[in-house]
Structures are given as C-alpha cells and as structure tokens.
Symmetry: C2
Subunit: 376 residues, 2 copies
C-alpha cells in the first residue's frame, strides 16, 4: 500500500507506464506506479524492440510522427539507462532489410520510395544480385530488397529492467505485484484507484494497462476500443553472428541480438486474453524464418512465448485526458508500436498533464477522436 | 557407492537398463543399476512410446520378432507397474492409422498387405471417403489410409517412473546420479565398474547405456557401432480429445495421450551428442502435424525436446555377451525401438546370462554378428 498520496498514480508497469512515470517525475511530480508485476503475456516484454513501425510508409502520418519523436529520444534514453543503472538496453542501429520472395506479394516499392524521399529517410534498393553482399545469409531465393539503414532496435526486456531501475532511482514509487481493481471516481472527478494491495488516493490517474485498460475505463463509463491482439515470438540461440540487420518479409521478421540470439516474430491473433502459444503460430514463424534465412534451421530453438498487444481500431494509440472524468488520463492502444511510441507518448501525455507545450499535435491520439471509417 | 557386491551391475537407468535389472532380479540375481539420473536427451524419456516398429512391414524379421515378444509381455507388465506402484503407464490399444497425402510418396500398400496377411496382423485399408469416419480430424486431403488396430502405446515417462519404482521394490539397488566412468577388466574377465561415486565390483556387467555405451565398451577394445541419432518431439496440450488413434505420415506421427495431450514426432538427425533442438526440426514437425491434422494448429504448444537414440548400422540392437571379455554383456543400439524392444531384450539377455532357454533366437542380435552389407 502506498505510504503517501502521490500527485499521480500510473496504472501499469509496462513500457508506457514506466516512461510516463519517468516523464512526470522529471517534471517534478510525485508518481506511484501500480504494477501487477506480470511479465508473461505482456507485450512490453514479449515484443521485439524494433524502434520503427514495421512498414512506416503504410502508416498514418501521426503514427510516424510519434515514432520519429521517440527515435530522437531513444539514444539519450538508452545512454541514461546504461550509465545510471548499469543495464544496457543494447540499442543497435544497423538498419532493416525488407526482402521480396516470389512466394509473397511484392513490396509496394514505389510507395516506399516516395515516402522515404518525402521524409528524408535513408533508403536503398537492392537487386537480387546485390543482396548477398548486404546480408550474406539471406536466402538466395530473395529477388529484391529495400534497406532502411536508419532503423534501430533495443533489447526490450533489458530496456524494461533498466527503465524500472531508473524510475526507482528517480523517486518513483512502484507498487510491485499490485493489481488495479477499481478506479475511484466521485462526481466526475478521479480520486484514486483500489488495488488488491489497498487503495491509493491521487487527483490524477493514468491508465496505461495495455489491453487491460479497457475493463478499468469501462468502470467510469468510458468505452476504450482497445482489444488484445496476440503475437508469438521464437527465440533462437546462434553460435555465431548470422545476421547483419533486421530482416523482414511479409509479417515476419528476424532481429539479431548482440549475443547472437535471434528473435523471430510475429503473428497477429485475435484470441481474447488467451496468451497461450498455439502450434500454428510456431509453424508459421519457423517456416518464415527458414524461408528468409535458411541457416536459422540449424540454430537452437531456445524458447517461445506470446504477448498481448493493445490493439486500436485505427492503429493509433489513445493518449490524453479521458472525457468526462476530471484528472483521468489514458495511454494505451499502442498495438505493435508500444516500444516505438513509449518515450514520445510519455512526453505527450506529461505535457498535457502539466500544461506545457506538447512535442507534437495531440489531436490524432485524443481518446475522444472519431473512429468512424468515413472520416479516416 | 554400493554397499554390497551384487551379482550383476547394469550400467544405464533407461528402459533397457531397468527392464534388464528387473529380469535378472526376477531370476534371483542381486542387481545394482548405475544411473546418471539424467532425463534430458535420454531416448527412454524423450520418445513417444509406440509399442511397434513404425513401419513393421519394412523391418528385418528379427526386429519384428523381438517386438512381438514385447507386445505379448507389455499388458501384464503395465498391469504390474500400475498395481504395485500406483503409477499408470497408460497403455492404450487404439491402433495406428497410416495416411497417404498427395504431397508424400505413397505407402507401399502391397508390401504392407502381404506382410500383415503372413503375420496374421489385423489390417484395414480405407479409401479417402472412409477416412473421416475412422479419424474425424484427419485432413480431408488424405487420400488413403491403412489401419493397424492392434498397435498400442504407452506414456513412456510414466512407464519409466513405474519401472524404477518396481525395480526398487523388488530389491534392485539403483545408484542414482552415478556416472559410469570405466569398466574394470582383468585378464579378459570383467571385475566391475568405476563410477564418479565410487567403484562397484561384480562378476557380471551389462552395458545398457544407449549411445553412451560405445565409449565404455571401447575401453575394453570392443568397437560397438552404436551412434547417437537425435529425435525431436513437440508436446501439444489439447482442450478436448482430438485423435482416436496414432496417426502417421512419412516419418512423422501424432500420439494422443489420455489427458488430451498430443505428442508430435519425430526427426532423425545425425548431430553427435548435441541434444539441442534446432528450429528446422520444430518447423518440420509443426508443418507435418498441421498437414495431417489441421486442428493441431489451434492446440497449445506446451514444450519441445530432443533425445538421442542409440542408432545401429542394421537397425537391430546388440543384445548378448561381449566377445573377448568374460562376464561383460551389452544391450544397446535399439534405435527407435527402445521402448518396443525393452522387455523382450531384457528376457533375451537374462536368459543368456542365467543359462536358461531364450524366448527367441539370440543370433540376429549377437554383438559379434557380421554387419557387412553383402550378408544382410
């Protein structure tokens, strides 16, 4: 149970909750994080850590704007985490290679090319004969590749541990193992939250509980259209460096870690809150990995898991005040971009909560925005 | 360390070692089993427990003869284990369905049919339209099936625990966690074995250490041509009964357990003593499972593992006295048929060691038999 009344309670100890708590703390607020302490099935831990939307040229401009702001922040954030906590989030900036295989629909080359030119994003196109030099272990069946050398990634479980440590060092209180049960609201004003370890009173509450946010906000009559979308990952243990960069085809990617591990992702499954890994997903991922990079067939499968992403109808997160309840805020619905969007979402929300200038337009992420098809 | 000098030391606590110890004990001998206590990578634990060679009609008659003897023994053995130890090896006698898919080379129907007729083995052939009734969840792509209703299987890890308990109850001493280091031989006569937990003296030693037998026997100058052959398995957790029987296509099979789990096997990989599971094997097994029974795609993948089978050049085990060293015996090289052949191999060896009538001709399994191609 909390020993003091913080300025703000953040519900959720995932990457959104932790970065939000840090941002508020840096702005002089006292913050308590209510964290059920569960890692299994939580997408902050389960994801791959690529610091870009997977196909940025297909995204809503606001999704890319939020990502861009995060990309500016990440190098310094990772340095801080490493220097202050001794935990290295392994930020790697080795780029990403999108590969075309005859068995898949081809990449939308022109759209990507135009987008990269407009955005000033570094972009290379590679013919089949140029691919072996760019990525020696890529299957020779690949016909064409697009390389975006500016894409980075982190080792997200390490980043999570580091952020947690950073938050604690910075005076953030973390109620570990506490599950938020009920929002406390009175006459249209938030009062705090009841957890299974007691109540915490606060004049401001941020719901950053991923797909579990929906149920909490429903208690105060707010229908947050966020749903769990399961994603499965495989972890391979390499004995030597296999990949130079992230490699992606279709919906599947391979992420090389600094210790020669390779993450294989991912699936998007609508299965409610069931985070068990089904055989069909492992089949799809193992098949895709071997198709892209045949050498992965010889690597050890160390383990596998699945996490629940907070899916949003327009694939944009909900970041801002919850209409109708004073002092209640939400930051959820980041879908596949939780790690990508976390630092910028935290800045955006903290600015709104403290009345300072937001780093980018909050409107596209407003919880009360219209989600009807006609207006998209 | 052993507290007395047993009549026989059995090196190996796998299914061959345990059944051999039991058979000798039943014949009035005192027996000590040297068991490193390792389960990981050991095929007795890792296998699927089908009580038949996978394609019996393609086997050497001696392999089937040994299997047939075991099949006669298993029901009573399983009953004994269950009644005396309370551990149920889950003997299931629901038959096996071999299915033809257009993507695989067709079954050798005529050979199988002839073999079954000659052997008096129950055998049914099913056209594509008859398969749904025989196995409702089998993929409709299957074109033809052969059913052998007499094939049974056990839950081998339970059988192992039960046999161990039965052996201990029967007075067999098990040196748990003891690794055999060296055979002790003097002037052409065995004297015992040195383990990392001390020496055990005995006038008779049985090497039943699976693929690890080769190194031990090499110490006394006997070149046992047994090598590790890795096999990978997947364990699925079903929420409802999916299969009526074992289903097999090509080199892959699905075994339904009584609790709705399904085992998916297996691969044959030459990778020395490396029992790590590689992605390529998981890919092959998951693909085969979904191809045979599409519903498996929706089942939870609970875990996976790999075991090392003791491969033999002619796929027949080596059971009998080791030429040149009095009192030294071997029972190894059972390859994919360790569980199938264990009780009969144990009887066969115990008969030879105690001078009684063997249950079948020992010659095809003699350690000194010729292995040259021309004589096969």
């Amino acid at each position: 149970m909390s020993t003091f009344q913080p300025d703000t309670v953040v519900i959720g100890g995932g990457i959104i909750g932790l970065t939000t708590a840090l941002a508020l703390s840096e702005r002089g607020q006292t913050v308590t994080v209510v964290d059920p302490g569960r890692r299994e099935g939580v997408s902050s831990w389960a994801g791959g850590g690529i610091l870009s939307p997977l196909y940025p040229w297909r995204q809503h401009p606001a999704v890319n704007a939020l990502a861009k702001r995060s990309q500016q922040v990440y190098p310094e954030l990772c340095r801080q985490v490493r220097d202050r906590t001794g935990i290295d989030p392994e930020l790697r900036s080795l780029g990403m290679l999108y590969a075309d295989f005859p068995s898949h629909p081809p990449l939308d080359r022109e759209t990507a090319r135009d987008w990269a030119r407009e955005q000033g994003v570094e972009f290379q196109e590679l013919g089949g004969d140029e691919l072996p030099a760019a990525e020696p272990e890529l299957s020779p069946v690949a016909e064409y590749g697009m390389r975006m050398p500016g894409i980075s990634w982190v080792r997200n479980p390490r980043l999570m541990r580091g952020l947690r440590s950073l938050a604690l060092d910075g005076g953030v209180e973390i109620l570990d193992g506490a599950l938020a049960l009920r929002l406390r609201e009175q006459g249209g004003t938030i009062r705090g939250v009841e957890t299974d370890a007691g109540s915490v009173e606060a004049d401001r509450v941020v719901v950053a509980a991923g797909p579990w946010s929906t149920q909490l906000l429903g208690q105060v009559g707010w229908d947050l259209p966020v749903r769990p979308v399961k994603g499965t990952m495989l972890l391979l243990q390499g004995w030597h460096p296999v990949l130079e960069q992230v490699v992606m085809t279709g919906s599947h990617y391979l992420i090389p870690r600094a210790d020669n591990r390779i993450l294989v992702g991912s699936t998007t499954e609508e299965a409610g809150f069931d985070n068990r890994t089904v055989l069909g997903s492992v089949r799809a991922l193992s098949q895709a990995a071997v198709e892209m990079v045949p050498e992965t067939a010889n690597l050890e499968l160390e383990t596998f898991w699945s996490g629940l992403r907070p899916g949003s109808p327009d694939e944009r997160p909900f970041v801002g005040p919850v209409p109708g309840v004073d002092g209640l805020y939400v930051s959820s619905g980041h879908y596949r971009n939780g790690v990508v969007h976390a630092p910028a979402s935290a800045e955006l929300l903290a600015a709104q909560m403290t009345g300072s200038e937001p780093p980018l337009d909050p409107e596209p992420f407003a919880p009360g925005r219209s989600l009807s098809e006609g207006e998209e």
